[in-house]
Amino acid sequence: MSAADWTPAWLWLAVIASGLYHGVNPGMGWPLAVSAGLMEKSPRALVTALWPLTAGHLLAMLLVILPFALLVAVVEWQRTIQIGASLLVIAFGLYRLANRRHPRALARISPPQLGLWSFAVALAHGAALMLVPIYLGLCREAVPDRGHEAAGTLINANLGMAVLVAAAHAAAMVAAGGCCAWLAYRYLGPKFISQSWFNLDTTWAVSLILVGAIALVLNLS
């Protein structure tokens, strides 16, 4: 695919696809919703648990994307910022490849603190960071490189876009995770949890490197 093909439609698709990818991954939390549903013997508890999981994920996205949304206002540095962000994502992917240790702090979060856990896990796994290069691609399309627009407009546009990107990603994530949780709860039983769980650590790290690399190539082209 050439840079010219990298249209907003494709970028939005990437935002949604990465959301679905995060959602079906048991490591991002849907089994916790199954557990909540089974523990309370109520589908309502399952759905209730999905909210903090989504909110935590969404917050992590915003925490990572918003600074970039503000930074891209500095138009003359835009390219540097985009290249820097790409390198950051690649570096994090490499770090995840080299260091397979699960962050111990995650295990200290108690089961009722689902939102906090989801927030922490999205940050620790680089899930939030993964969106940055895609987002920066979106901004480039949404805000053509004219350089003459008022800084205020730019900031507003980018902040709005950042929230939209994070929300779309989180919606895709909760849809995919919610489906898995519901299937396990209603039809497949808890056995589905161990059956569906694949070790995505390597894939995850490689995904980060890949997303970063694509963004880098696009920015250098």
Binding site: L32, S35, L38, R101, P111
Partner: protein
């Protein structure tokens, strides 16, 4: 790291019960006079095998005087909680603490249990330096790694500061440090276990090392100086939230067995002896309205016996106390097994109504005064001690030794290592299997049993049985 979760990790107790039956049992052996190194015996428990009921491999340790007691797996079904993030660990390493030496052996049971070998040795100095604790005891795998309870604090006698729980890394087996942040009134330790989704831990009390290492101290027992409290903790906050005193006469509150199904917020506790009447007791604890409660729900009376059948320690009483040394709860939470090491009886209680245990089965073997032989005619020294139930609840295994110096006081004729098995009927009832009798090498005593693929006193689950 695996690509898929270990097939022996199960989301719920029900799924664990449906898994294939055990093929190998692991039993720790101790040299009571410390003349030989302690060992791990691997026993073939597949009834279709040529070597059924035989020790098929022994891992002998390089040191003497460790005194093996309890041990556990590096990983279990609790790894399937996404909160812990260890879904791809393997149930592979046995963590075997030397209770007397404070040394810990990590034994690798893969790829073949009959080739199990030492993977790593953690020397006592590392444990002393990093935790301030000594005499490691119970081992459970959990959210933050491998948890190890200890019976001693610092210093030579283990009395400098209280004992507690420390954590080890579940991959490198590095000792990480103390678990407790706020221990409240807790000063003694023995067993511990938890309810993972409900996020609480329960711990019990035995005694400090000077009260057990050289044998039971009768004066301390009769003046009620052994442990008689149970502690409840916030698991992640590492904080004592409640301590309940059972009453000073309830000496040695030892084994803690929470319901396996995490939706059930209750569990059992075994108390060795009541100093007012020598009876043993079972207690049921539960959580209601955010508070923990506990009550005595079953008692086992002592049995009168003529003086000449009794060791010097008991002659003044003219009776044998049951000495409830171990309890174990079946995976479906229906039956509680109670080892009466003094009277030589294994009891099976129906605990479907947890606060009203009903005696459902019983077998006698060994015992201080009874000395009941095995149905195969062989003499059984000691009495039923560490008990382990197969995942499907059909087979109940146990050994006969309690602790080297205590064995000598209660069973002066010796406790030759033995392991037996009883078949449990689905609706209650227990019968010793005539064809199951494990002989161990001379000079060894047998202690705790672990089963490959997990058993009823190691695994903890994050999802309810449905």
């Amino acid at each position: 790291m695996n690509i898929r979760p270990d097939p022996t990790f199960h989301a719920s107790p029900k799924l664990a019960m449906e898994a294939p039956p055990e093929s190998f049992a692991y039993t720790v052996l101790l040299s009571p006079d410390f003349s030989k190194p302690d060992a791990l015996a691997v026993i073939d428990v597949n009834p279709n095998s040529q070597t059924y009921g035989q020790v098929v491999h022994t891992v002998t340790m390089p040191n003497k005087g460790d005194e093996f007691h309890h041990f556990g797996w590096n990983a279990c079904s609790s790894s399937l909680s996404p909160l812990t993030g260890h879904a791809f660990l393997e149930r592979r390493y046995l963590i075997i603490p030397g209770m007397r030496s404070s040394r810990i052996y990590i034994v690798d049971t893969k790829p073949d249990p009959t080739k199990a070998a030492i993977h790593k040795i953690i020397e006592p100095e590392e444990i002393f330096r990093k935790t301030g604790y000594s005499r490691p005891h119970t081992v459970h795998c959990g959210p933050e790694g491998i948890y190890v309870s200890t019976l001693g604090g610092g210093g030579k006698n283990g009395t400098d500061g209280p004992p507690g729980v420390f954590i080890m890394d579940c991959e490198t087996f590095e000792v990480l440090g103390r678990w407790e942040l706020d221990r409240g009134p807790q000063t003694l330790h023995y067993d511990f276990w938890w309810n993972l989704p409900r996020d609480y831990m329960v711990t019990s009390e035995w005694a400090l090392p000077p009260q057990f290492e050289n044998g039971i101290v009768p004066e301390d027992l009769l003046s009620n100086k052994y442990g008689h409290r149970i502690h409840f903790w916030d698991l992640r906050a590492r904080r004592n939230v409640q301590t309940i005193d059972l009453g000073a006469n309830h000496q040695m509150a030892l084994e803690v067995r929470p319901a396996h199904d995490p939706v059930r917020e209750y569990g059992f506790l075994g108390v060795v002896v009541d100093t007012t009447n020598l009876e043993g007791s079972i207690w049921t604890w539960w959580r209601e309205g955010g508070k923990f409660h506990i009550e005595k729900t079953a008692t086992i009376p002592p049995e009168p016996a003529p003086k000449e059948q009794l060791p010097p320690l008991l002659q003044g009483f003219g009776a044998v106390p049951p000495l409830v040394s171990d309890i174990d709860l079946s995976m479906d939470d229906k039956f509680l097994y109670v080892a009466c090491w003094g009277t030589g009886e294994m009891r099976q209680y129906d605990v479907r109504d947890p606060r009203k245990p009903k005696l459902a089965g019983s077998v006698h073997i060994g015992g201080i005064a009874r000395r009941t032989p095995h149905p195969n005619g062989k003499a059984f020294g000691g009495g039923p001690q560490m008990v382990e139930i197969s995942r499907d609840g059909k087979r109940v295994y146990w050994t006969n030794s309690l602790y080297s110096t205590w064995d000598n006081q209660f069973y002066p004729d010796g406790v030759p290592g033995a392991m037996v098995m009883a078949n449990a009927k689905p609706d209650g009832g227990l019968e010793l299997a005539k064809d199951y009798w494990v002989s161990f090498p001379d000079g060894y005593r047998s202690h705790q049993v672990r089963l490959d693929g997990g058993d009823c006193s190691t695994d903890s689950f994050c999802y309810p049985s449905v």
